[in-house]
Symmetry: C2
Subunit: 578 residues, 2 copies
């Protein structure tokens, strides 16, 4: 008979919302107890949200977090859940600063912790050892590393409790805690989604389980937090590498599984490892659980869901009632409108067609079409009468005249936002943002950019997938076929198409993947087989558009290398193509 | 007789400009040799500029840097400077990544190095031990720490060579290299200016010198690099704490000083310390140098110079020929115009008065006045005819109507920028940006924000100082007295003044200093004596304006806690006042 019923709680915290996040944990604990669990674990920083960034350096924030942990333990007891052991993630501090600070700015004074709550009190707390400080992670900036490992003994089973990065490091603490006789490795995580994460994360969990012949339970957060997306996908793997349980992506979920870990052995613990007894509740016998093993959908569906969740959580967590975006009839705005409608419902999406004198007839009709398919609220605001006074007064020509059109549209959208409180969505894709093919303070205006990390070729692919998905369910696809097939154009002058200025998108996306994502120099990109002149042109555009990019809106990060926090480059620098 | 003539070369590198930065080092080396120096040291990363951020994770960039170091050594020899020992800062790599990367993004593969060049070759290289990762520093993100210390022996004197942060850490490598018998501690730095840095940096250098009874030579970069400013202020201090030499702030300068360090003792070196002989050139006798000890100007002059240098270097390093800004007649735009004129000359500054129907008569006349005083190129573009079509077509009222005025002005400035290639300066001060008292895509538009880190009360103070400075030289002050004394107003509706909406600026700046710079929670701010309702209102404004701030332009960072990279907070988060 299984000896431990474990629950993994995927919660969707909002950074700083201590009360709301605690509510989520209490709800998850109740569900876990109702399912007969002995132990329930929520994700890394489940009480404060992740990442808290420089809030970790504010003593008042740390003190409030500390009070919230204590209050959560008391509340669990008060609500009849005190016999359940509950693992919660939170910062702890303030501690003495790790560093002498040379500029009077706050340095790290907090640790990234997991606490076990039971019987109305905080039984024990452990801190993360390894602090990631690459890509989107700033943990070495804001945290002090832990220096001790924790094993909790519950129902005679030793459970090693570690946090996220500590699992990833070869030669990290995993081997040491397992050598100490732990029968289950419990890892709490805030592990962001990237398009190929499934190829990395599950194999790692499996490898740690098999190389140590042990059970590994991995719990992750869900939800969108600015440009980060947490996909859930919590999983339990046994020592043979078999998946015993797996939670769905993108949804709050309490995953419950029966485990039969090896019993504790009362070995002598090495220095630096603590063991703490967590008293077990009075257990009745219970019925065996059916296995709960979610299946991952295919890559494009995962990606679509990621964009939808990122958009929904940005809107909801920031308290917007609705969104507004320009509908040009092109593919980007159609896909953004479909994402928004899937996220919050078409009745909360406001689409505005803003034709100019250069707009084609199909722009208008395709915009009408997408609005009708998706069921968004729709209006038409021609820009000719708005643009003309600027052109006349300032004698605008050429690029200046093109840009004033895009900027007049931005004024319309921001005006509607100011009137009615909509969040403005900006519809630029990763390809055009990478090369600066957008108008700053024009089409780049907005608070959230649903597809800023999606290359143009992938935008088309997602559009096709979304339509097929609809058709497979007997529905009409949300994206007009004409928006998918027609040549892309900014329509800022007569007859303009993107490929007047840019290489074909298949080539452009290939070069950008090599230069930005794979961090190759221009010479190495050419060595992949791309034309040297085209590579020189594209890398120069990328180098020069860094400032525009840095001013861009938040948007879901779905690739290993997106824009924003995880690619930090100087603005002032000599473009080199290196 | 002094036994070592040391030169410290303050250069002003541009990130990525390997050729231009090498030119600066060669020029400095020539000046040092002409002054009879044995050894010349330039600042941290003098060859690549600082900070290189994620360029450090691009193998092609590291390889180009490596080639540039070798080429620089050869060139110094070829130009007859090979007998001089030249210390240059640069990244070295690629090395094996420090970390397993969990998201396929580049991790640290480079070290932050100093090399000694002599006789046409790279004699030896050392790497920074302690990698700062707080405030504006991201070094733990992009670099691998060094694991060995270097002492170079030149003319029988052991010189310990360390890099920046390694000086700051108590218990850091300083004690160990000096215990090994070094008679001179040579520190190369990229040490950013902050308003009170002088109260921190020189005392530290002095403390290290006196606590070890040794000579300390400290060389810093100069110039602006995005929001960072390097002020130079290189200094040499002896074991009694006396200043032997000090370079001026803000200027490229080769500081030369005669030193008489203790002779080397051929002690056994502890593990982890290397000694490398650097052959001395054939030295003639030379005449004693007069002491070169610059005096620091007062705080306000330092600050003004900081803003001027930051603005100048942003304009010049990014290749702009001119700047354009709106002149409202108010204090902020007048101060920005004066800074710009001091930076690049009034004939390269374009001021535009953009009166609306709500603009007061004095707005126009004060704008005329500042333009005339500073000698900027000046034009008037009324906005009424531009705004009216938007208001009519979109039925804009209230805040939406106010904002469209600010945004129409932005379209004018960006239109002129597109026509003529000007850089747009945005004139917001730290106070109004902190509380979101600005129109996004309106007055916040621009590439560079000269006073974004200057609180409103300090803007007034600097204006008065600049006028007094002019008068002390028999010139007319650039800022109209009326701009200094009149109540500040955005003039977006009739009779509006800032204090309709905001607390008095003295109180507001006090609260912002406590809440943002000192990182106090709202309750602690109230405990300082501020009204609780006002504190609640202000902290809420700050929390809510984070996104606007994050989208702001680059601007000189002059306080310990400025906006941008050194204050990283989530966008999506529950405002708490913590």
């Amino acid at each position: 008979m299984p000896r431990l019923r474990l629950a993994l709680a995927q919660t969707n915290p909002l950074v700083g919302d201590l009360a709301g996040n605690a509510d989520q944990i209490v709800r998850a604990a109740r569900a876990a107890r109702d399912a007969g669990a002995d132990l329930v674990a929520s994700g890394e920083m489940s009480l404060t949200g992740y990442p808290i960034e420089d809030l970790a350096s504010r003593p008042s924030f740390l003190e409030a977090s500390h009070r919230a942990v204590v209050a959560l333990a008391e509340r669990l007891e008060a609500e009849g859940l005190g016999d359940l052991a509950v693992v919660v993630g939170h910062p702890d501090g303030p501690f003495e600063p790790r560093l002498l600070d040379t500029s009077n700015a706050p340095t790290a004074i907090a640790k990234n912790c997991a606490s076990v709550l039971q019987g109305g009190r905080v039984v024990t707390t452990t801190a993360k050892y390894h602090l990631p400080n690459y890509s989107v992670f700033d943990e070495y900036r804001v945290f002090i590393p832990g220096d001790e490992l924790l094993v909790i003994r519950i129902k005679g089973i030793d459970v090693a409790l570690i946090i996220c990065e500590d699992l990833w490091r070869d030669g990290g603490p995993v081997g040491r805690v397992l050598d100490a006789g732990a029968g289950l490795l419990l890892v709490i995580n805030a592990s962001p989604f990237v398009a190929d994460k499934d190829e990395v994360r599950l194999p790692l969990v499996t490898r740690r389980a098999t190389e140590n012949d042990t059970l590994v339970a991995y719990v992750n957060l869900v939800g969108g937090q600015d440009d980060l997306l947490f996909d859930g996908d919590s999983v339990v793997v046994d020592g043979s590498g078999a998946i015993l349980a797996r939670a769905p992506q993108w949804r709050e979920h309490v995953l419950t599984v029966d485990l039969d870990p090896q019993a504790s052995e009362n070995r002598e613990l090495p220095a630096g490892i603590r063991r703490v007894d967590v008293s077990a509740r009075a257990f009745g016998l219970y019925n065996a659980l059916a296995p709960d093993i979610a299946e991952l959908p295919d890559d494009r569906e995962q990606l679509w869901n990621a964009l939808v969740v990122g958009t929904r959580d940005y809107v909801e967590k920031n308290g917007f009632g609705s969104v507004v975006l320009g509908l040009s009839g092109g593919i980007d705005s159609a896909v953004c409108a479909a994402i928004a409608a899937d996220a919050i419902g078409g009745d909360r999406v406001y689409g505005v067609s803003m034709p100019s004198q250069w707009s084609s007839d199909h722009s208008r009709s395709d915009a009408d079409d997408v609005a009708e398919r998706i069921g968004v609220r729709y209006s038409v605001e021609p820009i000719a009468d708005l643009v003309e006074p600027f052109e006349r007064q300032l004698h605008l020509t050429g690029l200046a005249a093109e840009n004033v059109q895009a900027r007049a549209r931005a004024l319309i959208l921001m005006g509607l936002s100011n009137l009615d409180g909509h969040l403005v969505l900006t519809t630029g894709n990763k390809t055009e943002l990478s090369v600066g093919y957008s108008t700053i303070y024009g089409d780049s205006v907005g608070g959230f950019a649903p597809i800023k990390d999606v290359p143009k070729t992938m935008v088309w692919e997602l559009a096709r997938w979304r339509n097929e998905f609809a058709e497979s369910r007997g529905e009409r696809g949300p994206i007009p076929e004409n928006s998918i097939t027609k040549p892309p154009s900014a329509e800022l002058r007569p007859g303009q198409v993107d490929q007047d200025t840019l290489p074909p998108y298949e080539i452009l996306d290939g070069i950008l993947d090599a230069y930005i994502t794979k961090a190759l120099g221009a010479a190495d990109v050419v060595a992949l087989g791309y034309d040297a002149d085209v590579v020189a042109e594209v890398t120069k555009l990328v180098d020069r558009s860094e400032w525009k990019r840095r001013q861009g809106a938040i948007g879901p990060k779905i690739s290993g290398m997106a824009f924003g926090r995880d690619r930090r480059l100087p603005i002032t620098y000599r473009p080199t193509g290196l």
